[in-house]
Amino acid sequence: MDKQTGLKLYHEMVLIRRTEEKAAELYQQGKIGGFLHLYIGQEAVSTGLISARLPQDRVITAYRDHGVAINCGLPAKEILAEMLGKVTGVSRGKGGSMHLADVSKNFWGGHAIVGAHLPLAAGLALGDLYQKQDGVTICMFGDGATNIGYFHEALNLSKVWNLPVLWVCENNQYGMGTAVDRASAVSQIRQKAEGYGMTNSRVDGMNLVAVREAAQKILSEIRNGSGPQLLEITTYRYRGHSMGDPERYRKPEEIHLWQEQDPIGIFRRHLLDNGLAVEAELNAEDDAVEEEIREAVIFAESSPEPQAEELFRDIYVEA
């Protein structure tokens, strides 16, 4: 990794975290409604993964989508505007936090029905295969999503049709309040790929460099015709499942343990230890993020609400 990439990825991770901390604040103030699922603690997963993609690679994920959106190049101000339901938001205020998307950046959205986007990912990959395009579809989902039928149908289909998909399970140890071993017959999610004869691997999701290297290798294999693969990335969400989670299912000590391997801290140390950055440069990135967020909040708060006509817009392509 070169210095420029290192600083860029560090910037993205900090930007994700600060955007979400700000979102949590705006939620407490009642300015954001509905559900808000924070990605804090998982930043290295999408940052490492998406840093390995080529522009033609499609990305699709679940409702915990703010981080991925930032990594795919959606501006923080448009993400915050969407959360505030403003017309300047990426989905014109009609989607909200769970439904960010920017098709022009090959980001095919946050999807709120658990597991439902996996068959869609198979279809995206089929589109590329059919049209002889060399994109790989990167489909991200949680550990909990691997227990619903959609996951199994999609994996099987992708293997049978040899689709260019990278299935990425973000194993953050819980699906809502249910620990992996209370809901999944196997404790390593990657084992589920075995049943479909699918190449699989597992990587530490608190370590951006490890995620990035694994993703680079697998994406190039898939691009060269390996067929679909599954990558399990182990990680942890520091916050509740969504805002207002009573968190009776885990102990604070467990959270603290994972906080000791904070993905941003680990990457910061990596950059310093490998001479890729000095303290002052990283602090400058922190400051730049601070300023970006400040401007993003002003933009989002001062943006207009959608007009009433927006209610009936985009129901169909043809009226």
Binding site: G85, S184, P246, P306
Partner: protein, 323 residues
Amino acid sequence: MAKITMREAISQALWEEMERDPKVFILGEEVGLWGGTYAVTKGFFDHFGAERVRDTPIAEAAIVGAAIGAALTGLRPVAELMTINFAFSAMDHIVNEAAKLHYMFAGQMVLPMVIRAVGGGGRQLGATHSQTPDAVFAHFPGLKVVAPGTPADAKGLLKAAIRSNDPVLFIEHATLYQTRGEVPDGELIVPIGKSKIQRLGRDVTLVTYSKMLEVSMKAAEQLAAEGIEVEIVDLRSLRPLDMDPVLESLKKTNRAVIVEEGWKSYGVGAEIASRIYEEAFDFVDAPIKRVAQAEVPLPYNRTLEQMALPNAADVVKAVKEVL
């Protein structure tokens, strides 16, 4: 008589039935350790244990399917779907299994089961998490569909549903959980398939249920201030549908407005209006009006979402139009 919330009423019904009958058990996502996403089963896991309050993986088809299987063996499962929107992930089992087995096998198979599902819009949860698809489920013969609008009805109907030998879909409205109402002390059973007059009036018959009962009551107060007295019929069960109180009321008022939260097209209002025209055409003095959700997937933005949902002002307007 105690004044309790809808949440407490539902919780009490479950608790009492589980205490009464060891064959009753709960299964669903986050019903145990978490205490229920809407806190309905808070305390159940500690009291009844993991055998009877079963946390499941995220697998709606398996939740409903396993409930069907367990019911066939004589147990009385209460399957919880975190929201009714996820019932679509279990649609085959609801529609092609639960609603059909008893009939298709000529009565050999009996399914004493309840599916509890939380529905409704108004909380900025976006298009996939805000639906009121009650009419969809009421379409299928073989399934009973119940949707209470008051705590007392919720308690009594849920107890009846648990004791019923037919599969019952019990729809709770997410924004009614905090609603308080009088609930009689002691044993309370409200029979499934009985509509109820919730307010007496002479001018217009309002037919409604669930959350829209609250909205209709509010509209009724505003109208009363202007000297217009509406009679409100609460359907409570969508299938079987009890038209008697609706027709009786209509024969008195000769005018009807139907208020539902779901979409108008092919909805509850369409069914009720047709039934009135079929069964009491001669008594209808003005075209029946329907108040329903705008025909759009619900948006996240609060103002747009509220615009799309029916409110008291819409009901007042419709009542004045039929007068």
